[in-house]
C-alpha cells in the first residue's frame, strides 16, 4: 500500500525540482514578454470591474511556432505588442495567442473557439490555416478573420488576407550579399521549397545575380522548419564549398548563424531582426512589421468592414524594413547601393522577375 505514495512523492520531487528553477527565473526581469502575459491573465480574471472604460479591441492569434522563434511567429508577436502599446495598453487593445499550433486540425479548433468567444479579430498566422478559415469564417459573420501569408480572401466578406513581398527584401539582401562576396559564392538555407521561404530565396537569387552575373547562389533545403542540426551542417557545407556569405529562412537557421559566426562568414536575416544572434557577422535583416497592416485592419473593422481585402507588406508601405546591424562596418558604397536598391524597388524602377513557378 505504500508504493503509490512513493511514486507520487518521487515524481513530485522531480517536477518540483524543475519548476523551482522556473520560479527562480520568472523573478528575473529577463522575460519581459512573459510579465506582460501574466499581467494580461490577471487582467482577464478581474475583467468585471472595468465596466466604465470602453470595451477593448480584442484580438486572438494562432501561430504555428513559438512567440520567441526569432522568425515568423515572433514578428507577429512583436507587432501585436507594438500595437498594444500604441493603442494605450491592455485596456484598449487586448490580445491572446495560441503558439506552436503546428497541428492544422488543432489550430482549426482554436480559431473556432476564439470566434465563439467573440473576439473582434481572429488572426490565423500561417498559410496552412487558410483551409480551416474558409470553413469557419462563414459561421461567424460578425467576427473578422485574417490570415497569411497569402492574398486570397476566398471572396468571403469577413476574411482579410495579408502577405509579405519577401522577394523585395530578399532582392535587397541579395544585392548587398553579392557586393560583399569575394569568393563569388553564396549559400542559402531554406526549410521547404514553398511559400514565404521560396519567395525570399527566389528574390535573393535574382538580386544577387542582377548585381554580379558571375555570382553563384546555391540553395539547400533541409525539409524541416526545426532541424537545427541539419541547418547548421548545411551552413558548414556551403562554407566548405567556398561560400563567404550565407542567408536563410525559418526558425531552424539559428544553427546556421552559429556556424557562420564561427567561420567568420557574413549572414543576412529575414522575418525578424537576427542581429542579436551573431553581432559580428549579421549584415542586415529583412524585418516584417505587421503593425501597419494590423492597424489598418483594426481601423477597417471599427468602421464596419470586416474583411474582403488583402494587404501586402512591401518596402514601399513600410511593412518590410531592411534593418542594418549598426556594429557591422558596411562599406559606404555598398550602403549607398543598398539604399538606392530599396529606393528603386519603392519607386518601381527596379522590378523583380521571379523564376516561373514549376
Amino acid at each position: 500500500m505504500k508504493k503509490p505514495y512513493v511514486v507520487l512523492i518521487g515524481l513530485l520531487v522531480l517536477s518540483l525540482m524543475f519548476s523551482s528553477c522556473a520560479t527562480a527565473a520568472t523573478e528575473e526581469p529577463a522575460a519581459a514578454a512573459e510579465a506582460a502575459q501574466v499581467e494580461e491573465a490577471a487582467e482577464e480574471a478581474e475583467v468585471a470591474p472595468m465596466e466604465e472604460a470602453a470595451e477593448p479591441f480584442r484580438v486572438a492569434v494562432v501561430m504555428p511556432s513559438a512567440i520567441n522563434d526569432v522568425a515568423f511567429s515572433q514578428s507577429m508577436y512583436e507587432a501585436l505588442l507594438f500595437v498594444q502599446e500604441k493603442m494605450g495598453g491592455a485596456d484598449a487593445f487586448d490580445f491572446v495567442y495560441s503558439e506552436n499550433m503546428f497541428v492544422v486540425d488543432d489550430a482549426a479548433a482554436a480559431i473556432r473557439d476564439y470566434a465563439t468567444q467573440g473576439y473582434d479579430l481572429v488572426i490565423a498566422h500561417g498559410s496552412q490555416y487558410g483551409s480551416s478559415l474558409q470553413e469557419i469564417a462563414p459561421d461567424f459573420p460578425d467576427t473578422s478573420f485574417a490570415w497569411g501569408t497569402t492574398v486570397d480572401t476566398f471572396g468571403i466578406p469577413n476574411i482579410f488576407a495579408y502577405e509579405a513581398a519577401s522577394q523585395e527584401g530578399g532582392y535587397v539582401n541579395g544585392v548587398i550579399a553579392a557586393s560583399l562576396s569575394t569568393s563569388k559564392k553564396i549559400g542559402v538555407i531554406g526549410p521547404i521549397e514553398t511559400g514565404d521561404a521560396k519567395l525570399y530565396v527566389d528574390g535573393f537569387k535574382v538580386g544577387a545575380e542582377a548585381t554580379d552575373p558571375a555570382i553563384e547562389v546555391s540553395v539547400n533545403w533541409t525539409g524541416s522548419f526545426s532541424d537545427v542540426a541539419l541547418a547548421s551542417e548545411a551552413a558548414t557545407t556551403h562554407i566548405a564549398n567556398g561560400a563567404d556569405v550565407l542567408t536563410g529562412s525559418a526558425q531552424m537557421v539559428v544553427g546556421a548563424i552559429g556556424k557562420a559566426q564561427e567561420s567568420d562568414v557574413l549572414w543576412f536575416g529575414t522575418q525578424a531582426n537576427q542581429t542579436s544572434l551573431a553581432p559580428s557577422i549579421v549584415v542586415a535583416s529583412q524585418v516584417y512589421h505587421w503593425e501597419g497592416v494590423l492597424q489598418e485592419m483594426i481601423g477597417l473593422i471599427n468602421a464596419g468592414t470586416l474583411g474582403g481585402q488583402s494587404f501586402t507588406l512591401t518596402l514601399a508601405n513600410g511593412g518590410e524594413v531592411i534593418e542594418f546591424n549598426p556594429d557591422y562596418a558596411l562599406p559606404d558604397d555598398v550602403k549607398a547601393l543598398a539604399d538606392s536598391t530599396v529606393q528603386g524597388i519603392i519607386d518601381g524602377t527596379i522590378t523583380i522577375t521571379l523564376p516561373a513557378a514549376e
Binding site: K3, V7, G10, L11, L14, M17, F18, C21, A22, A24, A25, T26, A30, A31, A33, E34, A66, N68, D69, V70, N100, G187, E193, S218, V219, N220, W221, T222, G223, S224, S226, D227, V228, A229, L230, S232, E233, A234, T236, T237, H238, A240, N241, Q251, M252, V254, G255, I257, G258, Q261, S276, L277, A278
Partner: protein
C-alpha cells in the same frame, strides 16, 4: 556536376561533417544499447536529449562554464534515467509507452524552462575545436580527424570503451545475462533490478550528453525541439548496429555521411528534387540492412519487466 562530388573538398567535407553529425547519435545510441542489452527499451531518448541540451546550455550561458554544462547535463540525464528506471523496474510499466511519456515530458519541460529561464534564442561560445600541432595541419586528414571539439572525440572514444565494458568485464557479463535470461541471472545472485537501474540511468546520462553535444559543442544554441527526431533515429541505430557498439558506430557514420552527401548534392546544384535528396539517408540505412546478411537477435528479455519467481 555529378563529377564535382568526387573532388577532395567534397570528400573531406562529407567525412568530417559525417563525424560531427554522428556525435549526438553515438552518445544516445551507446546509452540506449546498454539499457536494451539489459532488457529495458527506452523510447524517451529524445526527451532526455532535449533536457540535457537545455541543462548544458543554461549553465554555459548563465555561469559561463562549459564543463559545468556537461555536469548539469549528466545530472539531469541521471535524474531522468532514474525516473525511467523506477517506472520500468518497480512499476513494471510498459516500456515503449512510458518512454513516449518521458519523451513528451522532456519535450515540453525543456521548452517550458527555456521560455521561462532564458526567454529568447541566444548563443554561447561552445567547446572550441582542438588544434593539435602538426596533426591538424596535415591536408585532408587534419580536417577530417583533428579539427573537432572535445565532445566529438569523447563520443568516438566511448565506442571501444562501451565494447570493452559490454564484452570484457563482469559488469558487461551481468548486463548481458540480465537482458538474455533474467531468471537465470537472478538465481546466480545477480540483482536484476540493480543492473537495470544502472543501465537505464547510464542511458539517460548518455542521451543527455548527446543533447549537450548539440547545444554547447556543435550548434551552441538552444531552441525548442532542437533535436527534431534525432533521438528516435538514435534508437533505430541501435537496431542497425545489432546492439553492438561497433555496429552502432558504423550505422551512425553511414547515416550521417549520407546525410552530408545529400547536403553536398544540393549545394553543388545537382538537379534532383531536394526532398529526394533528403530521403537518401533513410533509404540507404534500410537498404544496407537488407543486403547485409547478419542475423543478429536482440536481447531475449527486451522490454519485459522482471518479476522474481514469476
Amino acid at each position: 556536376m555529378i563529377s564535382d562530388l568526387f573532388s577532395t573538398t567534397v570528400i573531406i567535407g562529407i567525412i568530417s561533417s559525417g563525424i560531427r553529425l554522428a556525435t549526438p547519435y553515438l552518445y544516445a545510441s551507446l546509452g540506449e544499447t546498454f539499457s536494451q542489452r539489459s532488457g529495458v527499451l527506452n523510447l524517451g531518448v529524445e526527451g532526455q536529449m532535449l533536457m540535457g541540451a537545455f541543462a548544458a546550455f543554461y549553465v554555459a550561458l548563465k555561469f559561463g562554464s562549459l564543463w559545468g554544462g556537461v555536469l548539469a547535463a549528466i545530472l539531469v540525464g541521471a535524474v531522468f534515467g532514474l525516473a525511467m528506471a523506477f517506472v520500468s523496474n518497480n512499476l513494471h510499466a510498459a516500456q515503449g509507452i512510458s518512454g513516449i511519456g518521458f519523451y513528451l515530458f522532456g519535450l515540453g519541460m525543456s521548452n517550458l524552462l527555456f521560455q521561462k529561464m532564458i526567454g529568447t534564442v541566444e548563443t554561447v561560445q561552445g567547446f572550441p575545436k582542438i588544434y593539435i600541432p602538426f596533426l591538424s595541419d596535415i591536408p585532408g586528414i587534419g580536417e577530417i580527424f583533428f579539427s573537432h571539439n572535445i565532445l566529438v572525440y569523447i563520443a568516438f572514444f566511448l565506442v571501444p570503451v562501451a565494447w570493452f565494458v559490454l564484452n570484457k568485464t563482469t559488469l558487461g557479463l551481468k548486463i548481458r545475462a540480465v537482458g538474455e535470461n533474467p531468471d537465470a541471472a537472478d538465481s546466480l545472485g545477480v540483482s536484476v533490478i540493480r543492473v537495470r537501474y544502472f543501465t537505464v540511468i547510464f542511458g539517460g546520462v548518455m542521451s543527455a550528453l548527446g543533447g549537450a553535444s548539440l547545444s554547447i559543442a556543435l550548434l551552441n544554441v538552444f531552441q525548442q525541439n532542437m533535436t527534431s527526431g534525432l533521438g528516435f533515429i538514435a534508437v533505430a541505430l541501435v537496431y542497425f548496429g545489432g546492439w553492438r557498439p561497433w555496429g552502432i558506430l558504423g550505422g551512425a557514420l553511414l547515416f550521417s555521411m549520407v546525410n552530408s552527401l545529400q547536403l553536398w548534392i544540393q549545394v553543388l546544384g545537382i538537379p534532383i528534387p531536394s526532398e529526394i535528396a533528403l530521403m537518401m539517408p533513410y533509404i540507404l540505412t534500410i537498404l544496407v540492412l537488407v543486403v547485409s546478411t547478419s542475423k543478429v537477435r536482440g536481447p531475449s528479455a527486451l522490454s519485459k519487466p522482471f518479476e522474481r519467481g514469476d
